[in-house]
Symmetry: C2
């Protein structure tokens, strides 16, 4: 399989749904809906939605099965970026070469757009429940809520704000990566698999896979910035070579965890390799 083709085929599936879900910019309050859409369109890599679809396929389901989770994780990821960029957080004026949401729409609307993106994620997912799958949807929803809560994503973000205190402490830095990045990546994969009827054993394998891939993905990000002087990154703590070794160790461990899923999990394996070993 070609991982680029795989992604390009699946991006439009989630984009069609996102286009329908997020109110149009001409619906009042226009500033709010414009702000909600600002980072969602034009389409980005949709990495988390694609992982959700690959998670469904890995347990014998279809990309279609995973769509409510795919849309929900993209909405949640977008909300976290909007709030991360705020002046009181990372204070970023640019993202992907464009003004950040608070620069374009003001700080109040940026906070509120993030808030509404979060609830929209849960609305989408809850709305996918029907007679047969309500239990699986509830579990996917609970996983997602946990993955972005104070013990995971938001807690990781708080510790990331105190970044300087982590210098050189590999375990502490990996704990931030695990909570801030890996928990949502694992939940994307697991949520897709849940909607495709995965067994408890498959869920626990995919969850462990996702957590290790997520941390490796974050180390890869650090390495792309190639900044050994940033002593608060894994690359800073272990050196470039040490960080690359740690990243590859995590990837290998992750891949071993899903060995028994066989051929249907090939897209997931390729996506993990691609995400971790990408050069840009």
């Amino acid at each position: 399989m070609d991982v680029h083709d795989y992604m390009q085929e699946r991006i439009p599936l989630v984009d069609v749904l996102l286009e329908k879900l997020v109110p149009a910019t001409d619906e009042a309050p226009k500033s709010l809906h414009g702000a909600m859409r600002h980072l969602i369109f034009p389409s980005g890599k949709r990495f988390r939605p694609i992982l959700a679809m690959a998670g469904a396929e890995a347990v014998g389901g279809s990309a279609q099965d995973a769509l409510p989770v795919a849309a929900a994780v993209e909405l949640v990821h977008t909300y976290s970026l909007v709030h991360d960029d705020l002046p009181c957080m990372d204070d970023d004026a640019l993202r992907r070469g464009r003004p950040t949401v608070h620069i374009e729409f003001g700080e109040a609307v940026a906070v509120l757009a993030g808030d509404a993106l979060q609830s929209l994620a849960f609305e989408v997912l809850a709305g996918a429940a029907n007679g047969g799958n309500a239990a699986a949807v509830s579990l996917a929803l609970r996983d997602l809520a946990r993955a972005i809560g104070s013990r995971q994503l938001v807690g990781g973000q708080v510790d990331d704000l105190a970044y300087d205190s982590l210098a050189g402490d590999v375990a502490a830095i990996e704990s931030v990566h695990a909570r801030k990045t890996a928990a949502l990546i694992a939940t994307s994969i697991v949520g897709g698999a849940r909607l495709a009827g995965a067994s408890d054993e498959q869920i626990s394998e995919l969850d462990a896979f996702g957590l290790e891939v997520g941390i490796a993905f974050q180390i890869a990000d650090d390495l792309l910035d190639a900044d050994e002087e940033d002593i608060c990154s894994i690359a800073g703590a272990l050196g470039t070579e040490g960080a690359a070794a740690r990243m590859n160790e995590l990837l290998a461990s992750a891949l071993a965890r899903i060995e028994d899923l066989g051929e249907p999990a090939n897209p997931l394996r390729e996506l993990a390799r691609f995400a971790v070993q990408r050069k840009a």
Copy 2:
């Protein structure tokens, strides 16, 4: 029945659950968990949780049935207060006589605490799903997500930021009240009723009841501030007497909508009268 006794008996039920759900202040990140708890404890009126319990009782269920919804609506209400108080929004330094969350814990942690309170609400509710009630839980969850989304609470808050432009426009002001206040009040009642097995007809009566009570409740708030000079309130637009008349008209209409629920809905009726006609 005595409405004060009714409330005092039910507050501890939701408080015990909230105490268990929100991580303790000695769990890391401590600032985040402290900020999440800051407005939740000590216990306030718990108006929305009590409405959820009364909603369950109105359709023949128990207060216990409604507890996951009761906790969720209080968490969501608290998140919205934390974000409303932020410098970029209402910029309030005090709430209930204490420093607001961003004054006490800083702006970044206040944004993140609000974010985590929102997701915790959905986590609680999704976690209440079991074999029998997963469909009802999914509906309550979808209702809650909608009630706080861009078409309801958050949209109302955006329009409220442009408050001055509403001067004298009763329909526009009531639209803000409907979205910013009444949608969550209606969802509290309806969610409690859903978990108690309400019929579709009962749900739609309770929803209409909740929306009118919610707007009346907000007019009552305006009247307590007794500020006819605030031309952007209903009291400013209609005068004190006109606003009181409008408030009582809404209350009467709301009560008529749930006439056929009979005696089990008495607590709900008394709570509505109490909330609208309170003197402080």
